[in-house]
Amino acid sequence: MARNANKSLQAKLVLLGDMGAGKTSLVLRFVKGQFSEYQESTIGAAFFTQVLSLNEATVKFDIWDTAGQERYHSLAPMYYRGAAAAIVVYDITSMDSFVRAKKWVREVQRQANSSLTMLLVANKADLEDERKVSNEEGEEYAKENGLSFLETSAKTAQNVNELFYEIGKRLAKAKSSHETGMRLHSRAGQDRGGLFCCA
């Protein structure tokens, strides 16, 4: 088969949700296959890249995790800028986090470009005993707002890969590539000789 049939795309993906909802845990589960009961509030690393190979395309995700700026309503607009997908996360054991998630959905609808794919994720599905937000409630809200909906557990890995595959598939279908700029890198430059010519 022709190799170039498999296109490759780069996509910025942002995470939003209440403190402690499990944003970082979901990313670490997806990127590193790990889970920690004592995941610290995010400091120090909030940017991950991961390549996902699908039949229809190879997707390179730039994953932006929040870094606490949202705590005092001070998230920078650059966070949404050029994002191809947003994952809004809540914790099924906390009604507050569900209320916050709805606020984030509205905020993203207001701020982000219209082609953005948004998903609502109900995390900590392993804690069924402590559940405060029913599956139906989440699903219903997602439907009303045209969002995909998944219940996940970063702890048991339930639906975590499915979540990112779903996003990858949607982006491959949408195929609109967003940015066309360049990234600056730290590597030895190959100069093209002098400006002032000739010699």
Partner: protein
């Protein structure tokens, strides 16, 4: 808020955000506040509604300009030298991963009433009407000398000590005429005034080399790059760096009053009745108006247009330098144009700026030579603002105040100010030289 911080930073302009990022990475506990509900302070980029609010009060922008949020209009427009200090800081702090850049199409210079491309390769240099044929040969000899010049290799010095020989003497050796000198000094070495002629030539030679190296970096028609979505992305990227390392962010905090003890040393900052304690305050001049003095004024015009600037080969991003002598002024005038190709306007729209150090109180008249080059505009705004510098003694009050951006400022002085402030605050020096010449880019 009632916690104790090592440093409270006030204002989210580029300088304050770079410092906040560097200090957080150092492990200091930083609280960063801004009285505005947006990032960037004076170095923000405004959408259309914000622009109208600032310059037109209650009027609403006309619908034919398109969606407000498709606009990112720099309040402190500049391009970034591809091999310059700002790029080194971006790489040093690894903030580059949050940003996307595009090369700037062209750099032009105003000469004898006309706009000419600053040649970016030998073909263009040969064709350029900026010099006659014989002058080109002389200039070429000079350029080759500059290109080969290595500061610590005397064999390349042709027997001259450039820390002593003045620029005027150096150029005289190559027999270049008045026009060529003006071009080299203002369009390549980016001098703002003519003092450089009587100063040691080393500085000018270094500036020319930087221009050439930056030009070589990205195969563009200019030595400049510019971020997608405007310069307002830069402070946000450094703010994110700070937050990732534990910095606390609060926008939309009214007042932000700096509190002092009897000895005049800073003890904290009060906003909305709560006081956060701190050992040091870092801020822009507007937060401590009693500790700064006015040093100048900038006149500028901001235009929204539906076409590129005429005579710039259809460049969708461009700088034009109008050297002072060409206008009979004391300071150079700058034209800057960006467009939808850098995502700062909707498709088909261009944003142009004309700026200069103000020499009168009438920006519309003073800026006319630049504005005349724009052609028809959809909308135009005029503005004059004051520039300030600190007059306090930071070792006595623990207040570290940045200097205002001057329209004629480039990122070099911005970065210099930041690095000096960093050293005053921490007693440490950042070595950017390791990253020198390492900036390259890959198409994504």
């Amino acid at each position: 808020m009632d916690e104790e911080y090592d440093v409270i930073v006030l204002g989210t302009g580029l300088k304050e955000c770079i410092l906040s990022g560097l200090l957080s990475v150092d492990g200091l506990k930083v609280l960063h506040m801004d009285r505005n509900d947006y990032y960037g302070g004076e170095s923000t980029s405004l959408n259309l509604n914000q622009l109208w609010k600032r310059f037109r009060g209650d009027d609403k922008p006309p619908a034919q300009l398109g969606a407000s949020r498709d606009y990112n209009i720099d309040m402190n427009p500049k391009f970034i030298m591809a091999n310059g200090n700002l790029v080194r800081v971006l790489i040093h702090t690894d903030v580059t991963k949050y940003l996307s850049f595009k090369a700037v199409d062209g750099s032009f210079v105003f000469n004898k009433g006309k706009v000419h491309k600053v040649p970016s390769n030998d073909m263009e240099a040969l064709k350029s009407p900026l010099m006659g044929l014989f002058e080109k040969r002389r200039a070429r000899k000079f350029f080759i000398f500059v290109q080969n010049y290595i500061e610590n290799d005397p064999k390349t010095h042709e027997g001259m000590d450039l820390t002593r020989v003045t620029t005027k003497e150096l150029i005289a050796k190559y027999g270049l005429d008045y026009n060529t000198i003006d071009f080299i000094g203002h369009a390549l070495a980016l001098h703002r005034e003519d003092n450089y002629l009587s100063e040691p030539a080393l500085d000018t030679v270094k500036r020319m080399k930087l221009y050439a190296e930056s030009l070589a970096r990205f195969q563009g028609g200019s030595p400049y790059i510019y971020p997608l979505y405007g310069l307002g992305e830069l402070p946000q990227a450094f703010a994110r760096l700070s937050a990732v390392y534990g910095g606390t962010y609060m926008l939309n905090k009214p007042e932000c009053k700096v509190e002092f003890d009897e000895g005049g040393k800073v003890v904290g900052v009060t906003s909305e009745g709560e006081t956060a304690k701190c050992k040091k305050v870092v801020c822009d001049p507007s937060y401590l108006p009693g500790k700064v003095r006015k040093v100048g004024r900038v006149a500028r015009a901001i235009a929204i247009m539906s076409h590129p600037i005429p005579s710039t080969d259809d460049s969708h991003s461009v700088q034009i330098i109008l050297p002072q002598k060409q206008l009979n002024r004391n300071s150079d005038m700058y034209l800057f144009c960006c467009s939808y190709t850098h995502n700062v306007a909707p498709k088909g729209k261009f944003i142009a700026f004309v700026s200069t150090e103000a020499e009168t109180d009438q920006p519309a008249i003073e800026l006319k030579p630049g504005i005349d080059l724009l052609g028809p505009v959809d909308e135009i705004f005029f503005d004059i603002y004051d520039r300030y510098e600190p007059v306090n003694e930071p070792s006595l009050d623990n207040c570290f105040i940045s200097t205002s951006y001057d329209a004629t400022t480039h990122f070099e002085s911005t970065v210099d100010d930041v690095l000096n402030m960093y050293t005053l605050i921490t007693g440490k020096v950042i070595d950017l030289s390791v990253d020198l010449s390492a900036a390259s880019a890959a198409e994504e």
